[in-house]
């Protein structure tokens, strides 16, 4: 999926958080977003997901203004762990099968197998470890057959092995032509497959640069 951002500006009632951000990504490109706490990474993602309202002409997905997209399709989203409703009992099976609006088919089964979810399929998610939960979320995001995958801090609280697996998964997805936007504090994670960095600074200032390129182009 092509992503185009044109002079994206966003302010909460008084506070300007994102100011005149522009960049674009082609299908299969990988963007990593860095930035100190409170610089607007999550805000940017919320704009993409239409949780926050932006003006017409600021964000395009495949050349379609997001304000004109009624319901999304082909977007996968892996939430920050804190954004998820725990405590109420629900099993992995229930989360995934309900997220899959169609009848369960071969694609569904493949995802379950790919992420090795059979063993924990009927577990209550409250009993899962951070890494297991992460696998469930990524599997869920892929059920959508996304062309754009957005991940918010997916490595927080996940052990080294699972981070490695996640890295492999993202690498494969990128090769399949899926556009990926990753928010992460971890500077090293996905260093090798990132095409672009978006670094948010305070006061709405930002840098957008090609990987391995030290020239600022903002």
């Amino acid at each position: 999926m092509r992503v185009t951002v044109n002079n994206l500006t966003f302010a909460y009632t008084q506070k300007l958080v994102l100011s005149n951000i522009s960049f674009s990504l082609k299908s299969g490109e990988f963007l990593t977003i860095h930035g100190k706490n409170g610089t607007g990474k999550t805000t940017l993602i919320r704009c993409f997901l239409k949780m926050l309202k932006v003006n017409d002409g600021m964000i395009y997905l495949d050349d379609m203004d997001i304000n004109h997209i009624k319901t999304f399709s082909n977007i996968g989203y892996v939430p920050q762990k804190t954004d998820f409703n725990y405590e109420f009992p629900i099993t992995v099976f229930e989360i995934l099968s309900c997220a899959y609006l169609k009848k369960r088919d071969a694609y569904y089964t493949k995802i379950i197998n790919d992420f090795d979810l059979n063993k924990i399929y009927h577990e209550n998610i409250n009993n899962l470890s951070g890494g297991q939960l992460q696998r469930v979320f990524i599997a869920r995001a892929l059920l959508n057959r996304p062309k754009l995958l957005i991940l918010d801090e997916p490595t927080v609280g996940v052990d080294v092995d699972n981070i490695k697996t996640l890295h492999e998964t993202l690498q494969n997805l990128k090769q399949e032509g899926i556009t990926i936007i990753l928010v992460s504090h971890d500077m090293e994670f996905c260093q090798d497959i990132t095409d672009y960095y978006l670094i948010l600074n305070e006061l709405g200032d930002y840098e957008f640069k090609k990987a391995g390129d030290n020239n600022v182009s903002s």
């Binding site: 989203y77 998820f84 009992p89 229930e94 099968s97």
Partner: protein
């Protein structure tokens, strides 16, 4: 012994059959809707809407004494206010950033105040009537009431059948629901209208003060023991029905108001489950 006498009366009197049937349906609907309310962390909305809906009923009583128009029928006005209440809550939430839940007590107080005002304005209301508004009067369910309840139950079931997956997804992760192509606004509207409908329907049967308990407490018990969404919903329905039927029998036998007895049984179930949980976890930690 007294079970036998209750059964004998049950066959002898239509009104008892209506009451029991109505009760069983209420016992099914309440925790079903309650589950959604609890997961979405808006438990207080049930109380708020019921009190606001009460204002509608009271205004309806007042107006229908002045002008004999069908639209001032108290039950209908109750439904209108219940739905209106959800929109008022939504509007008020927009005024606060961190204190969004303030919208609930505001709407609730408004409902209580309006109810009090219009009850006192419409003089010579039977105190039996106001009492039944507050605590319900399941034994006075008429055959038309029963038909209304059946229709609404069917509507709710059809709605849930067609949107089950979407509801579950929405409840657990609204953002994901949005990106996965669910029309979240429309679904929320549907759920809200159903909630409002069910609440105003319940006023007559269980009373304003007890509606929320009937929706929330069985779910509160079920969450503690459930290990999947489905079995949590099912056990909340079981708790709800057990309390309804036993409350019905006991209150009929002891000749006391049904609603409060049902809620007390619900609370006893909750306490027992909490105790069992406590004992189990202390045994488990001792074993270690």
């Amino acid at each position: 012994m007294f079970l036998a006498s209750v059964f004998k009366d049950l066959f002898a009197f239509d009104f008892l059959q209506y009451a029991l049937l109505a009760g069983l349906l209420v016992g099914l609907l309440a925790p079903l809707i309650g589950t959604v309310v609890v997961i979405r962390r808006i438990s207080f909305i049930a109380d708020t809407l019921s009190h606001f809906s009460l204002a509608g009923v009271c205004i309806g009583v007042f107006l229908s004494k002045l002008i004999n128009w069908k639209i001032f029928d108290p039950l209908f006005m109750g439904i209108v206010f219940s739905i209106l209440g959800t929109f008022v809550i939504e509007k008020l939430r927009g005024f606060y950033k961190n204190y969004k839940e303030l919208s609930m007590p505001i709407v609730m107080s408004c409902g209580v105040a309006l109810s009090g005002l219009f009850i006192s304005l419409s003089n010579n209301i039977d105190s039996k009537y106001t009492n039944s508004l507050l605590f319900g009067s399941i034994l006075s369910v008429s055959s038309t009431d029963l038909i209304t309840i059946i229709i609404i139950t069917v509507i709710v079931f059809i709605f849930i059948m067609f949107t089950y997956k979407k509801i579950v997804t929405l409840c657990f992760d609204e953002v994901y629901a949005r990106v996965s192509g669910i029309n979240v606004k429309l679904l929320q509207l549907g759920l809200t209208i159903i909630l409002a409908l069910v609440i105003s329907l319940f006023i007559d049967i269980v009373g304003v003060l007890l509606i929320a308990s009937l929706m929330i407490i069985p779910v509160a018990s079920a969450i503690l023991i459930g290990d999947s969404f489905l079995n949590t919903v099912v056990s909340s329905i079981v708790f709800s029905e057990v309390s309804l039927v036993s409350g019905f029998v006991i209150s009929y036998h002891a000749n006391v108001t049904t609603g409060p007895v049902i809620i007390i049984i619900n609370i006893l179930i909750l306490i027992v489950i909490m105790l069992i949980k406590k004992i189990r976890s202390s045994i488990a930690s001792k074993k270690k």
